[in-house]
Symmetry: C2
Subunit: 428 residues, 2 copies
């Protein structure tokens, strides 16, 4: 009898957690990803801010799964899922990949709430390419400000607007102001980078809406002390190459970064089940797709509704827990056994604000300031997958911490936008 075939799409936190469940089990597993690496997304903003190298937060998927002898890795993009035929079409393979159970973990990208044209002016931060583009824009802005003789243009180049007051927005804002004020000044001759403006805009009433209110107040105070202008209850109504419209006000800024909204991967809509407004698959309590008990969804692509009606948050620990549960249930399905419901266990929330400051929430406990920052450091290094990455990240951080210098201030030549060419303004 042939062994049951399990297919996992996506090598993120959910997909890898799922793959590891099958160790030693009598099944054949295929993990399909369109990149060859796992991305440690919680530190992506550090790559965008030139604090870490791309290879510090990535690990080859093959390397992570090298000891799982019943797992093969397929480097390719899934272009179609056919739940009726139980097949997946991959662009790099001549024949479809059949499955007895499927686990889809292809996540989400940022959403512009129907204003897709904003993306060119306000790039988001989900992939490594996003991070490198954000880095390029951030570093090039100072280069262009140094060369221009137009004072208004210079001010606009040195204004950075971040849309979205969740953890990514807060972490980006804190790091941006620090780099501009501490690491950059001695590099330039015509501009004083300490005059840079960083504006953090949040449509809701407070920053870090997923954390308790005390954390929001503290984050705002810490950011304002660093010099960030925080605007809450401020909806962005327009973005173009010249700046951002916030309510009635227009903020002139050549640099707008997007840290708001999520739109799930298009594969979610191919699975035959219901999806919510963000494209997430509304799964059953065992993480399967309604009508397809052999198809599971885990991670940011899944809308997992809790008993109180709220959704399980889109964070790495939730993705890992969902991936494991989906894999255990997939094993039960191929053995014709009953599946178990998923229960989310919240281990706590962490966000960092510049050097030395962070916020940690564990159930009813809150820690802030330096102890929370040390904890943040410890947790993030601990969870980095490869030993080499842990060591390398420690070195980079220690260097940045003690010298205030950013080591990885690299704009690659191919990416250099000739500053004199500013057609349509959207590549500034």
């Amino acid at each position: 009898m042939p062994r049951p075939r399990i297919v996992i799409i996506g090598g993120g936190f959910a997909g890898l957690a799922a793959a590891k469940v099958f160790r030693g089990k009598p099944v054949d597993v295929s993990v399909i990803d369109r990149t060859n690496h796992h991305l440690f997304q919680p530190l992506l903003y550090q790559v965008a801010m030139a604090g870490l190298a791309p290879s510090d937060i990535t690990v080859p998927i093959r390397w992570i799964l090298r000891n799982e002898r019943n797992v093969r890795v397929i480097f390719g993009e899934v272009v179609k899922v056919d739940p009726a035929a139980r097949e997946v079409i991959v662009d790099s393979l001549g024949a479809p990949v059949g499955y007895d159970a499927l686990i889809v973990t292809t996540g989400a990208r940022h959403a512009y709430f129907g204003h897709d044209a904003w993306e060119a002016c306000a790039p988001g931060l989900k992939s490594l390419e996003d991070a490198l583009e954000m880095r390029r824009r951030f570093l090039t802005a100072f280069e262009r400000a140094e060369l221009t003789s137009d004072a208004a243009e210079r001010a606009s180049l040195m204004t950075f607007v971040i849309v979205g007051g969740g953890p990514t927005g807060v972490e980006l804002a804190g790091m941006m102001i620090e780099i501009a004020r501490k690491a950059m000044p001695s590099d330039f001759r015509s501009i004083d980078t300490r005059n840079s403006r960083v504006v953090l805009v949040e449509a809701g009433p407070r920053l870090l809406p997923a954390l308790p209110e005390g954390s929001s107040i503290r984050a705002r105070r810490d950011l304002e002390r660093l010099g960030v202008e925080v605007r809450t209850g401020a909806a962005v109504t327009g973005v173009d190459g010249h700046g951002v419209r916030i309510g009635d006000e227009f903020v002139r800024a050549r640099n707008v970064f997007w840290a708001a909204g999520n739109q799930a991967s298009p594969l979610g809509a191919m699975l035959g089940g219901p999806v919510d407004h963000a494209g997430r698959v509304i799964v059953r309590d065992d993480l399967s797709v309604p009508g397809h008990p052999e198809v599971f969804v885990a991670g940011d692509l899944a809308a997992v509704v809790r008993a109180d009606g709220s959704l399980v948050p889109g964070v790495a620990p939730a993705a890992i827990q969902e991936g494991r549960r989906a894999a255990l249930n997939a094993l039960r399905i191929v053995n014709s056994e009953t599946t178990s419901p998923f229960r989310y266990y919240n281990k706590g929330d962490l966000a960092t604000i510049g050097r030395n400051r962070a916020i940690a929430v564990f159930g009813r406990f809150e820690v802030a300031g330096y102890p929370a920052w040390l904890l943040w450091l410890f947790v993030h290094i601990l969870y980095l997958v490869g030993f080499r990455n842990r060591l390398s990240v420690l070195v980079q951080w220690a260097y940045a911490y003690f010298t205030f210098q950013r080591g990885v201030r690299l704009i690659t030549a191919a990416e250099r936008a000739a500053p004199s060419v500013t057609r349509s303004g959207d590549r500034s």
Copy 2:
């Protein structure tokens, strides 16, 4: 009286060495580069072979020159040099940059000896982009070999031909065979990467032609022990997407890499002086351009003829020495003093062959094997410009050395060539 204006084009070894000469001198210096970073080219092959991250071998030019208060850095590409008007046109500036003395250090790229069409099939290794493209091809070849069911195609994907038996070719070949035989095997399920072929082709009679004959013999023996097929006296007469023609033989190989030949930067031809067959400027003994005593050329762009008729080699120590001499002479020119001739002091040659083996030549002394390798390690880390880079490179190397793993095995998503699409074969 306005201070004399010195312009340096290029932030490589020669350009930076020149810039540092002007510390505290009553001149205004501009350093123009089209990238924002200095590249440590001797380790570029390590980035191509996924052993180091791009940021490990790059340092922001602004950071290197942050304490030189009379030096400004211009991020832009020089599109024209006008020696009659004493002006340089930069794409990122509205007005030309005038100079009283000019130092041009824009180096060379690889040359295909009139066969420019070969470049698409056989990329070279001069810039960071070259290295990332080589890395992408090297890693993608194994991914495609893993997925194909065609045995001939698999063999072709697992054959790597390196054209050029100089230090770059020798170092690439040694590293490639080691990665294929030691680091990769456990990652794949369908292929055995230990069956990979690495072929090193040199048109001349021996490897490392710039070193004494004993070194050539030793390098060949070491490479062959590692498993590299070495072909000397073998001219490449054709390259296409399917392989390489070497004399009468056609070697099927999807992966051909170019480590032969040099073509100087096109700026050399704009300086009003004579250039040689490779486009290098034939300079006077004080490194100035004949007819333009205020224009100096240093580094790989300069053809510096020694008393015995031979050229000063295109290595980093020579570029640094030339940059310093050009800067000292530029200072004399703007002060209406007599310039001094350049004298090359050869500190020795070093080449590494895989793990643990290297060759070092100092005048009449030769060191080989493990001691030479330790020396190679020491010299290269010592010369890396930033402290952070030294530490990071040490970590990466120590990790690679003790585990046989390559840490930085990263193919970025944007670069992934969908393996099923092989139109014209030239992107394999």
